[in-house]
Amino acid sequence: MANLELLLLIVLGTGLVAYLLTKVNQFLGSVFTIAATTFAFVSLAAYGFNGGLDTTVQWIPWLSFSVTNLGFFFAIIIVFVYLMVSFFHPYFLDHYKYPSVYNMLFLWSLAGVLGTFFTENTIQLFFFFEFIVWTSMFLIPMGKSKKAAVSYYGFSAAGSFAMLFGILVMANVSGSYGLSTGLAALTGSGKEALVFVLFLIAGFAKLGAFPFHIWLPEAHGNAPHPFSPVLSGALVKLGAFVAVFALIRIAPFSVTIDAIALPVAQWIVAILGSLSIVFGTLMAIREDDAKKLLAYSSMSHGGYILVAFSLLDSVAFAGGFYHILAHALASAGAFMAIAAVARQTGTTKMSELGGLIHKMPVTYIVYLVAIISMAGIPPMGGFISKWLIFQAVLNKGMVLVTIAVFFGSIGSFLYVFRPLAALFLGQWITKYDGQVKEAPLLMMIPMLIITALNVYTGVFPDWLLGVTNGVITDLGYPALQVAVAAPFTLNGYYGTLAPAIISLVFAVGVVVAAIIFFVLKKSRKVTLMDTYTAANFVHNEELLHYTKDFYAPLERLYEKYTTKMRDFYNALAYKVKEVGQLAKYLFMSKFAEVALFWTILILIFLLWGEF
């Protein structure tokens, strides 16, 4: 389907059909959801890559579509994540209170994605932005926590309202609701700084970057298991989309820091992005719940994306866009693997799990590949993007930001391997004896596809970098040089990278390790309780779990400060409550005289000096 309007309407319609079918039979409805998502993805992929998407509008007059490389890049990634996740539906829906609504809202939010990224009209952008917020908001409470939906809505709405304010200011300046005309008209209007800040609030809030990160662990950690990958891999990227406009297309201050050749505003954003990286990493290190850990990791990766786009540099942009792709794939893969584990064991707490590699080897591989990409280790996609971002940051000579991006990278080694060790390695927890087996085939398909793509993005990035180059040249910057010296290499500021050769080295290493593993004698398996300490037998498996308090010495350094931001928002909510109670006390008294008192007071104020 090449026509975007029809595609959007069809996806909306399939939402209703999915609702009815799921009412009749959950499996049928879920398979239909898979089919509908596949249809959307195939349509986009088939027509989008060769520029064949049709933007004519026939049925709904107030819609208008426009295809840009930027929009298409985001849309195809997000729709792909939706497609992959839809394969999980048949196995999870029976856990949820309103399964038919789940399928319906899932497809509707997908329709919202189609509307958001393919438009030039800012009002339409806001419409679908909000549409995605409310459709996804009702999915979250089907998971573990009802509160999570409220904080998700609060932060998302704060972001989208800030964006709306920005849009209104922009329209006031330019006289139209066109995105490009609006952004162009801002220059020299004196309103640049306001719109810049407002758009960035939207970007930060959606991306879950510091200081708007509180909702990430709440929403990602408590959302239904198959929806966490969508939130983390797909929907937070809406923030990146808005941030790109603000950072690249608006120049709020004319002041430039000469030493790093960067405008002040962008520099501030780079610093904030660095803080996101550092705080996200530190919080992830001390998290016990695997999903919340990955949520904090999303926060830190949001920071990378912000840093990349604030550098105003081709290499950084290439890194930023590639990171959006790599992180979408990696976090979707990791969350899906955790979802598979949660389905089989019923928990995502690391201290309650262990040794799953014996029962779920494929899921283990999926998770392993995903986190290697997340940590930015070759031969996965995350390595390519981080390499580009490092190059750009170093080239700018931004010391603090450089420290932060390297810290985040090393920190992610510390935290992403903890769920790996806790969930899959280590000793088998005996309470799962006989319960756990590998995830079903239908769930395996998307996990394996994503794993293959994680590897592909790391080994052969050339074609995909060509796609991101299209986006970068659209934004008015020169393309990243790919494959100039030799095929399959990229040029940064300091040397060239040959991902295929690096991958080959890794492959050889893996083969050697495998040979050693298979040839040498097998290790003897013991259970976790097969031990004693201080001459006493320990009867609680969890205490012996070696990921319990894994980084305790490190955590002790900052554990006092970990709740500061949460406390801040709680205090803010409390203050609003207090203001409300004060207003009730002042104005809502049960004595009628009080209202009269206020009226007369205002009257005196009004007439003071008039007579």
């Binding site: 107030w62 549409f131 409310w134 809505y153 329209a171 409300g580 049960k590 209202a595 205002i602 007439l607």
Partner: protein
């Protein structure tokens, strides 16, 4: 056929209905229907009563603006009557009096006559409030209502002394023609503003709302939150847009009152735990938004927002008061999961709530976007900022409420709404959905409303 029948019929039927207790509920249902039919038959324009040519005597004004309000009020009274006809049949006559008063408020073109209808509608309102069985709060309402209408009357007397006319159109012309200093008009205008502000639930004058709506039932809740609210908003809009020429200090004070009303209304709702209290504080904020739009001259958006709020608040209040009646308590925690067996009602309630927050696909979104873009065109940034921050707070507590009502807590809550109520509520929600995607009629209205207000300006 004359528009005066829209007032005369309900008033007459109200007296007739006292004679037969059995017949009264039927009369209550038939009258609004008859009015709705009449509404399409009577000619628009100024209706002269008793042969006195304006500016003498009393005249009525039926234009697109009052047409919308009359349609909404009569339809809502019918629906509310229908849903409560069994339980509150003894209130039939009172509802008819209320209907006569409200129709009169909307139609009248005479400022003193407006006061009379304000009193008629007020008396009916005190009696309706009495159905809550909370005498103290009714008394409170009575006192404030009396103070409000005296303020209105006091302001009007000053205006009459200054200009010597009570006819609205005539008064507007005289005010425009005369060279009275703006400060001389502060006192009468502000007094009239307060007088209507009491009924319109504007912040410092509205302490009666908590007692009355906070303990409202399936009849009084929707009556006050939607029928009275929409009427007073329209009357206010008429006066604000044509008569009151707010400027200088008065404008500043009025705008400050309204902005504070929006912000504090939402804050008060945020700090409440009881469903009815949340809704009533939310409607305080919404009423301030509507009046703020009128003050800014956005007549169309103010009017449509008032109607949309009336529809949503009808759904919200009916559902909550009904649940309160069955469960015996309206703490959100004790109502958890009440939509489990009531999907249709739950969806309708959610649609109404989402429409109030202004979320896409529902009427509230179209309106919110509409008036915000208009405010932006006037570069009224402060108002936009306050409205957006207030909407954020509003969204948070509504979402919290929706999540609680959909997902069960420890105790199972069972509320049965009955078929009639379910259908009516679903239809109301469907309206919000239809006007959330289809905006043809709004664009048409834009032209007609403007032209009529121009007619008034010209006299």
């Amino acid at each position: 056929m004359s528009a005066v029948l829209l007032i005369a019929i309900p008033l007459l039927v109200a007296f007739v209905s006292i004679l037969s207790k059995k017949l009264a509920p039927w009369l209550l249902l038939a009258t609004p229907i008859a009015n709705l039919v009449l509404l399409f038959l009577v000619p628009t324009g100024i209706v002269v009563i008793g042969g006195f040519q304006p500016p003498f005597g009393i005249s009525l004004l039926l234009d697109t603006y009052s047409f919308i309000a009359l349609f909404a009020v009569n339809a809502l009274v019918f629906v509310i009557g229908l849903l409560n006809v069994k339980e509150y049949h003894q209130f039939s006559s009172i509802l008819l009096v209320a209907l006569a008063g409200l129709n009169g408020l909307i139609l009248t073109n005479d400022l003193f006559n407006l006061f009379v209808f304000l009193e008629i509608a007020g008396i009916a309102a005190y009696l309706i409030a009495a159905s809550n069985k909370k005498p103290a709060s009714v008394f409170h309402y009575l006192v404030l209502g009396a103070v409000g209408s005296s303020f209105y009357l006091f302001g009007l007397i000053i205006l009459y002394a200054m200009f010597g006319t009570l006819n609205m159109v005539d008064m507007i012309e005289k005010i425009n023609a005369a060279t009275v200093s703006a400060s001389a008009l502060i006192l009468p205008f502000f007094l009239m503003f307060v007088g209507l502000g009491v009924e319109a639930k504007l912040l410092p004058f509205n302490s009666w709302v908590k007692g009355v709506l906070g303990s409202s039932n399936t009849m009084s809740g929707p009556m006050f939150a939607s029928v009275y609210a929409v009427t007073v908003s329209f009357v206010f809009g008429r006066l604000l847009n044509n008569l009151f020429a707010f400027q200088g200090n008065l404008l500043v004070v009025v705008v400050a009152i309204l902005l504070l009303g929006i912000a504090l209304g939402e804050a008060m709702a945020f700090s409440s735990k009881k469903a009815r209290e949340i809704l009533l504080y939310s409607s305080i904020a919404q009423a301030s938004v509507v009046i703020l739009l009128f003050v800014n001259g956005l007549v169309l958006w103010g009017a449509l927002l008032a109607v949309a709020n009336a529809v949503s608040k009808f759904v919200l209040f009916y559902v909550v008061t009904k649940a309160q009646k069955e469960v015996g308590c309206d703490d959100l925690d004790s109502l958890q999961g009440m939509f489990q067996g009531n999907y249709v009602v739950g969806v309708a309630f959610s649609v109404a709530a989402l429409s109030v927050i202004g979320i896409p696909l529902f009427a509230g979104f179209v309106l919110k976007l509409g008036y915000l873009t208009e405010l932006a065109a006037n570069a009224n940034w402060l108002a936009i900022a306050v409205i957006l921050v207030a909407s954020l707070v509003e969204g948070i507590y509504y979402v919290r409420m929706l999540v609680k009502l959909w997902y069960p807590g420890e105790k199972e809550v069972k509320v049965s709404f009955g078929n009639v109520a379910t259908v009516v509520i679903a239809l109301a929600a469907a309206l919000l959905l239809v006007f959330g995607v289809y905006r043809g009629p709004i664009d048409n209205l834009d032209n007609t409303i403007d032209s009529v207000s121009e007619v008034i300006d010209l006299g």
